[in-house]
């Protein structure tokens, strides 16, 4: 297990504040945060590139802070791969192995094995400059994994890839992780990557960790407005809790599943995909149902984002097909409906 306790680091414009994290052995852990929140600095600090200003880093109880990068047993993969340009792919992958495994034959076998795992064994004689981004990315991960690091640090490994390669590479990362079970800390600004890949995620905001949980937990129950906005909660409304209901003003009352601690002023969030649209009122007392006027339509390919003014603007995400089938237009009167369970008090 790797533990960060009260880690502080100031570097240039980045300021990491009181970072507390623990990542289990074999876990796939994603650090999520907007660009410029210091995620890369945090990874480089774990790897030993920067000294801590304050705090501790432990690996299975052993203090990492006095160790130099080569003593920490971390693998590091940069966003732009940072392969050694003067070496072939085989030499790149074998780089760390050369210091550990003196037997040339065994070394070659291991390089071929891991290259085959990533599907790049036919490229081993090539130099990095002649390879695609995806191929270089695979080589960079293979180079890090071949020495069996205690922790594998990935800095935005998917962001430089086109959408299609991104999806296939995400599946590949998952497969390799299930096969080799390295402890992974993966940094990204893209929440969608976390689903199906991360065991747990930590959301960073303003230089510190604001929420840790499984992707589903963070998605369904963001604990702050910053997290909610970051994971794509669009309908964030201010209200007051009275008699088990949320009063939004404008005479709007939401029924929500409230726990005891929600009282007074609250923010509530409703995911746009949870908001259904219909021509007629849906007849169910357990639902929040509001009549309003469509004020805005944004096409996003398969999906369309519709804003309905029900007193407050409410965004709904529906399929473009249903929009066309029902012939919805700006100005139409429409019902917007969502379940009490879809109202997340944050």
């Amino acid at each position: 297990m790797i533990e960060l306790r009260h880690v502080e680091k100031r570097l240039g414009t980045f300021h990491l504040r009181d970072i507390k994290l623990s990542v289990e052995n074999g876990e796939y852990f994603i650090l999520l945060g907007a660009t410029g929140t210091g995620k890369t600095v945090l990874l480089e600090t774990i790897a030993g590139m920067h000294k801590l200003d304050r705090g501790d880093m432990l690996y299975n109880g052993e203090d990492l802070t006095p160790l130099s990068p080569e003593e920490r047993g971390v693998g590091f993969v940069y966003q732009d791969y940072a392969l050694f340009p003067h070496l072939t792919l085989a030499q790149n992958i074998a780089f760390g192995l050369r210091l550990r495994e003196k037997d040339k034959g065994r070394r070659r076998d291991e390089v071929h094995e891991i290259a085959a795992l990533f599907g790049i064994d036919h490229l081993l004689g090539r130099r990095p400059a002649s390879l695609s981004g995806g191929e270089q990315q695979r080589a960079a991960i293979a180079r890090a994994l071949i020495v069996k690091p205690r922790i594998l640090l990935l800095d935005e490994p998917l962001s430089a890839l086109d959408p299609r390669s991104k999806e296939s590479f995400r599946r590949e990362l998952r497969r390799v992780h299930e096969l080799l079970r390295p402890t992974v800390i993966h940094v990204t600004h893209d929440f969608n990557i976390a689903f199906g890949l991360a065991d747990r995620i930590a959301v960073m905001h303003d230089g510190t960790v604001v929420q840790v949980g499984t992707p589903a937990e963070v998605f369904r129950h963001p604990t702050s407005q910053a997290v909610a906005e970051f994971v794509g909660m669009e309908n964030i409304l201010l209200g007051t809790v009275r008699r088990g209901e949320v009063h939004l003003g404008e005479g709007l009352v939401l029924s929500a599943v409230l726990d005891g601690r929600s009282a007074g002023e609250v923010s509530v969030a409703v995911r746009p995909e949870d908001v259904l649209l219909s021509r007629e009122a849906l007849d169910s007392s357990a639902r929040n149902s509001f009549r309003g006027r469509m004020i805005h339509i944004t096409h996003e390919g398969v999906m369309t984002r519709v804003t309905v003014d029900v007193g407050v603007p409410l965004v709904s995400l529906i399929t473009t097909r249903s929009l066309e089938e029902y012939g919805l237009r700006v100005g139409d009167e429409i019902w917007a409906t969502f379940k009490s369970a879809s109202v997340h008090v944050i």
Binding site: A82, P85, P149
Partner: protein, 289 residues
């Protein structure tokens, strides 16, 4: 306002006056300047070669020129090796280390570049010829005043800034993260340097060594002050040229000059072919961004 129509017409006439002649004249002046300068250089160098090359074989068979060639090769190779041995770690440190007062240190290291070589020679002469430290070195067997070792030292002192500039620029261009990745893969600092950074700096190092060597071959002023100009003792090619011009032996002098010109031209060509730019030598490299 009544004359505004006239004024406007006049202005339009000025604006539309054909500029072709002026543009042509401008281009002609530029082209002529280039032609004059290039012609001047070719003429000056060509004069030496025209009179020196026919004497080259005669010169090469003279024991004095042979001695000068041998001494020049020996001292320039020695001083270049010294420049590499000391310049590489210093340039690496100046490129990688973040320290207070780095700008001041950079300026200090450039001082020999700003000094006239003959002043650099006087400085070395005072340091090694008149102080107890110089005396101690001489007692230990390292005599630097009026000796061949002195020539090597003078060449080193005058040329080390060139080595530093080219190498610092080269190291600045090598991504420090590559070294960091090498370290996460298990390399110590020296291993990461020798396996990653130095191989990537190879071309720059060769270019730096060539330019340093070519300049060492031609070094005259500083060596003259520290090592003197003694025939068949501290007689390098430039010293030979100087001594023979002095006694009016134009043939030997021009033979030596021709050899120096040929070596300079070849090394300049190789330096540029390796991607080194002469700009590096005249430009103060700014801090890393």
């Amino acid at each position: 306002m009544s004359d505004s129509a006239d004024t406007q017409a006049a202005r339009a006439a000025i604006e539309l006056r054909p500029t072709r002649t002026r543009n042509l004249a401008f281009a002609a002046v530029v082209a002529l300047s280039i032609a004059l300068l290039a012609g001047f250089i070719v003429l000056a160098v060509g004069m030496v070669l025209a009179r020196g090359l026919p004497n080259l074989w005669a010169g090469l068979s003279s024991p004095e020129i042979r001695f000068a060639i041998r001494l020049s090769l020996l001292t320039s190779l020695a001083s270049t090796s010294l420049c590499v041995a000391i310049g590489v770690p210093v340039a690496y440190g100046m490129s990688r280390l973040h320290m207070r007062g780095k700008g001041i240190v950079t300026a200090l290291l450039d001082i020999p570049l700003a000094l006239p070589p003959i002043v650099a020679g006087v400085a070395l002469l005072l340091l090694f010829g008149t102080t107890s430290a110089g005396q101690w070195l001489a007692d230990m067997g390292l005599k630097l005043v009026f000796t061949v070792q002195g020539i090597v030292l003078a060449q080193f002192f005058v040329n080390i800034p060139y080595m530093l500039r080219v190498m610092r620029g080269t190291f600045d261009d090598v991504d420090p993260r590559l070294e960091f990745v090498a370290r996460t893969l298990g390399c110590s600092r020296p291993q990461a340097f020798f396996r990653v950074t130095l191989p990537l700096a190879k071309n720059g190092l060769i270019a730096a060594a060539i330019i340093t060597w070519a300049r060492a071959l031609g070094e005259f002023g500083a060596a003259l002050m520290l090592a003197g100009a003694t025939r068949l003792k501290t007689e390098t090619l430039p010293v030979s040229l100087y001594l023979n011009m002095g006694v009016g032996d134009l043939e030997l002098a021009l033979a030596a000059a021709s050899i120096l010109i040929l070596i300079s031209l070849v090394s300049l060509f190789v330096f540029e072919a390796l991607g080194g730019s002469p700009m590096v030598l005249s430009r103060t490299k700014g801090g890393r961004t």
